[in-house]
Symmetry: C2
Subunit: 357 residues, 2 copies
Amino acid sequence: MKVFSSPRHRLHDPEQELESSGWQPPFEHPGRAEAIHAALAADADFAIAEPAEWGTAPIEAVHDPGLVRFLASAWEDYQRDVRQVHDVVPDVFAMAGLRAGMADGAEPTSVAGRLGWWCFETTTPLTSGTYDAARSAVSVALSTAEAVLGGERVAYGLCRPPGHHATTALYGGYCFFNNAAVAAAHIAVTTGSKVAVLDVDYHHGNGTQQIFFSRGDVAFVSLHGDPARAYPYHTGFADETGAGRGRGSTCNVPLAAGTDDDAYLRALAGALDAVDAFDPAVVVVSLGVDTYVGDPMCDLAVTTDGFDRCGDAVAARGRPLVVLQEGGYADEALGANVTTWLRGAAGAAQLLPWSRR
Amino acid sequence: MKVFSSPRHRLHDPEQELESSGWQPPFEHPGRAEAIHAALAADADFAIAEPAEWGTAPIEAVHDPGLVRFLASAWEDYQRDVRQVHDVVPDVFAMAGLRAGMADGAEPTSVAGRLGWWCFETTTPLTSGTYDAARSAVSVALSTAEAVLGGERVAYGLCRPPGHHATTALYGGYCFFNNAAVAAAHIAVTTGSKVAVLDVDYHHGNGTQQIFFSRGDVAFVSLHGDPARAYPYHTGFADETGAGRGRGSTCNVPLAAGTDDDAYLRALAGALDAVDAFDPAVVVVSLGVDTYVGDPMCDLAVTTDGFDRCGDAVAARGRPLVVLQEGGYADEALGANVTTWLRGAAGAAQLLPWSRR
């Protein structure tokens, strides 16, 4: 299986992250991608390559160019104007309620104000190399998509930082650019075919949902911890189903705490039925393995064997898969969980006529 | 001069506050009010009383009742559901961009989600007694307003926590309930007369502005550090002048760094002209003394003598004054700065016919 990975992910290296009212050692750190990379590199069935360089045009096809500009300089602006610090986080947010009854505001001039304009939370520090790392993750996603457009049945992009929480004009949730959304939009626009994003990360892919909510060419189907208890809390409910041209093309499946392999597979089958109903030419999989029973942050109970069954179930639907890494925080199990998922997918793909052409 | 103060302010006792990408010792802490109280108590010209108890009705006249409900239980909810911690802050915020193109959301069910629904920033920790303290600050404001409605020319309310950053449905900026807005609305509604809020805190009173932006009965006039560089960054520009029935009744005067006594007094004269043009029966003064040259957080250069001139200038316009404490973080100078401002106001008031009745 073709795999794309960039060492530039290491440039995003938070020392800490701010959540649950305190600084914590970062769950989202370079060791995550290193662990997955090591497992892939140890296995001859995976052929790892670096991605091509991509410019900002595919990013700006789904994100506000202002977000790209901001991320390109924000860390340095902050060092100069506010404080010299390794991990930069916002402290005041441009929420709509600040202007209730007033006209819309404009992007502030100060970097402190701009942080709260382009970001929605505190767990996602900007570090000196964050922008370069985020750009590299998008390049990984796009090169993975190109491999599938070139004939691969399943290809995997080891994206880090992840992407699915980034909306059109907001970063957060460890995500800066929405790798999966950029890849899905790229495929949809360059091929003229429909694309589905299947998001199996524990957390609702609020960014991907928002980006495609009103689009008819890209469906968004997600299984995730019920936002009644789980981050990101404010979206991911079953009644969010799309709008306008996208009406009916968003599908959310909130899951109960403790959901085990069998229950997860049943929910996944329903989600895959929703994908099939949309009939996409390609499926972009936002592969979080934080659904794992041992994940330190989440509360589902999928096992490593369960990930094999998940990969198999997704690939058995017979559509080409662009599999992109999202979350997963049980460092010691990440390599096994990701490679097992991919082997499950590859095995199913080999049994299907399409893969033998 | 009648002064109202409540010892219950001490129940809001943050150990730290989160800003500039790190925890800091709290600028806004009980010692601020204690310092002002000590200066007032040492001076026989100030008669300190505790406020009456007021219910939530005057609060819910300007705030969403959901905000009141949230603050009443949020700290305990968080201890039970998230983590046992002294200072509770949000980490993920329900920004409009998360739902761009989608229908409006509803208040989340989890306390972590609700925090980011009702709050706009991170510098304002909830502690175990915050709600009781915030309620007491509103009672101080209302009792001070009642004293002026009862015939006092100038009365002072030692409100803590402060209030002017709290909007209809958001807390933040050290503020939970908007003491000045509750008092101004109470006066306007109970008397049927027009009221102006004159906000001389260093920081733009974004909450007060939002609450009254479209109302014709309460004007909002503010001098503050230019939001191009100063918190709260997203509002406080000169082109924000009110809407609907409030068109023309909001007036913002952004100030340059280093503004000294003479320059400040010139700007204040212009602001007072705007107040006079509105012709209110009562002026509620949001008295921040963080315009002080020695303030550790701000960058204006008003001196203690300057505060005497400011109090004099405001009272010399001949309108009864409900003076309510907002910010000010140079602890060692707070007592002198506040009492000097109040003496300036009292002196001018004594020279005017109204005060001799």
